[in-house]
């Protein structure tokens, strides 16, 4: 039997949750014996290659590209897990949800204290993904099977969920591992 496949991706996140995954320390050696990696920052694949058993998604959906990546990811993951507060409630990026989009653009590209922009134009190249009206948690865009909260969740939390899934156990986190900060 081939090894189970894992994929990870980051949407509107800071890669902190991925850092937390690396934080499992020497257990990572055990992990690479147990699983094969599809798309992840480790191999820098731009698209998920094929169906995988477990997908970890970090970050919420802030722009149209995030949505496309998430939808592609969902289609290819048997179990999809949203990792960290940004994926679960939008996190820090969602602080813009209380500000009109136009004001966000103006602050970022025109009026911000560190902005130098003599033409005062907001970049609108077709290569730049369009921002959504709000930052959305992943489970408001696609179906998500499990959530691992935390800013970011601890390495132990990620490991606990992973070990449970790899051994067909239910993902039930002990009190100490459910944290929102």
């Amino acid at each position: 039997m081939s090894k189970p496949k894992i994929a990870t991706t980051s949407l509107c996140g800071c890669f902190g949750c991925h850092m937390s995954l690396l934080d499992i320390d020497e257990r990572i050696l055990k992990l690479i014996e147990l699983v094969d990696f599809d798309r992840s920052p480790i191999n820098d694949l731009k698209h998920i290659q094929g169906p995988v058993d477990i997908g970890f998604v970090e970050g919420g959906c802030a722009n149209e590209e995030n949505v496309k990546v998430l939808q592609e990811f969902r289609k290819n993951c048997r179990v999809l897990i949203s990792v960290g507060d940004c994926a679960i409630n939008g996190g820090i990026p969602a602080m813009r949800n209380m500000v009109p989009l136009e004001e966000c653009y103006e602050e970022a590209f025109v009026n911000g204290p560190t902005v130098v922009n003599p033409t005062g134009e907001v970049p609108n190249d077709v290569e730049i993904p369009l921002l959504l009206d709000k930052v959305y948690p992943c489970h408001e865009v696609v179906k998500v099977d499990y959530h691992l909260p935390g800013g970011p969740p601890s390495a132990d939390t990620l490991w606990a969920a992973l070990s449970a899934l790899l051994t067909d156990q239910p993902v039930e986190l002990p009190y100490e591992l459910v944290k929102y900060d």
């Binding site: 949203s82 507060d85 679960i88 409630n89 939008g90 996190g91 820090i92 969602a94 602080m95 949800n97 209380m98 709000k134 948690p137 489970h139 408001e140 998500v144 499990y146 959530h147 691992l148 909260p149 935390g150 800013g151 039930e172 986190l173 009190y175 100490e176 459910v178 944290k179 929102y180 900060d181």
Partner: protein, 237 residues
């Protein structure tokens, strides 16, 4: 005759209580924790959050406002009630803007601790991301209404314990919000940093300035201990 001893049943267990006690207080004395948010020891009950909802002789009642009566049968820890409470907590999260990752109250927050107790990893309702106002006009205390759950603990503490009536609610429905009794904001009220009202807030809505993150992660109130476990172990103050 408020001190008359009476008997009732809670979750199938016979307990003794004093007549005049609320179900919540009687249960607490007997080592049974009924989850609650707007209730606070020393304040009159408000019955507003409904987290303490139990079934009394089959009918839902708020345990913090309902007095005990002889022979009453109370259900507290049932699948159904746990589900209802979970939903209430979920709603409080999505109706406000709770960013626990940088909230100064994180680890000491009763709302968050209840969510932990119920094992909530994500709310099931869509986030509303409402517009809420901050009030930083007071030199030593601030209000972040993003985290206010309208429990009225500060309102009652200010009136009943501090004798200042500095807080109240204005508006209705989704527009209901915490107000203060001065045009210029909290800084123009008589509120002092050591007021009971300031300490009464279960969330990070009413906080002292310049003491945030004083207690390191790992040593905060609910880092290792589930909310309510002190009641269950009989060590609650």
């Amino acid at each position: 005759m408020t001190n008359q001893r009476i008997q009732l049943t809670i979750d199938g267990r016979k307990i003794e209580a004093s007549s005049g006690q609320s179900i919540l207080a009687a249960a607490e004395d007997a080592g049974v924790y009924i989850p609650r948010l707007c209730w606070m020891k020393g304040l009159s009950p408000a019955g507003s959050c409904r987290v303490c909802t139990v079934r009394v002789n089959g009918r839902p009642q708020s345990a913090c406002t309902q007095p005990v009566t002889p022979g009453m049968i109370v259900e507290n820890d049932t699948e159904e009630l746990r589900g209802l409470r979970r939903n209430l907590i979920d709603m409080l999260f999505v109706e406000g803007n709770h960013f626990c990752m940088f909230c100064e109250k994180s680890g000491n927050c009763e709302l968050q601790a209840l969510a932990y107790r119920f094992g909530i990893t994500a709310p099931k309702y869509p986030f509303m991301f409402p517009q809420r106002e901050l009030d930083a006009t007071h030199p030593e205390v601030f209000i972040d209404r993003n985290r206010c759950i309208l429990c009225s603990r500060c309102v009652r503490a200010s009136g009943e314990l501090d004798g200042k009536h500095a807080f109240g609610f204005v508006g209705r429905g989704p527009d209901k919000r915490l107000a203060v009794n001065a045009e210029g904001g909290l800084g123009d009220t008589e509120v002092a940093v050591d007021d009971e009202a300031v300490g009464a807030c279960p969330t990070g809505s009413l906080l002292k300035k310049r003491v945030g993150f004083e207690v390191p992660v790992g040593a905060r109130r609910f880092d290792h201990v589930t909310i309510g476990s002190d009641v269950e172990e009989g060590t609650a103050k």
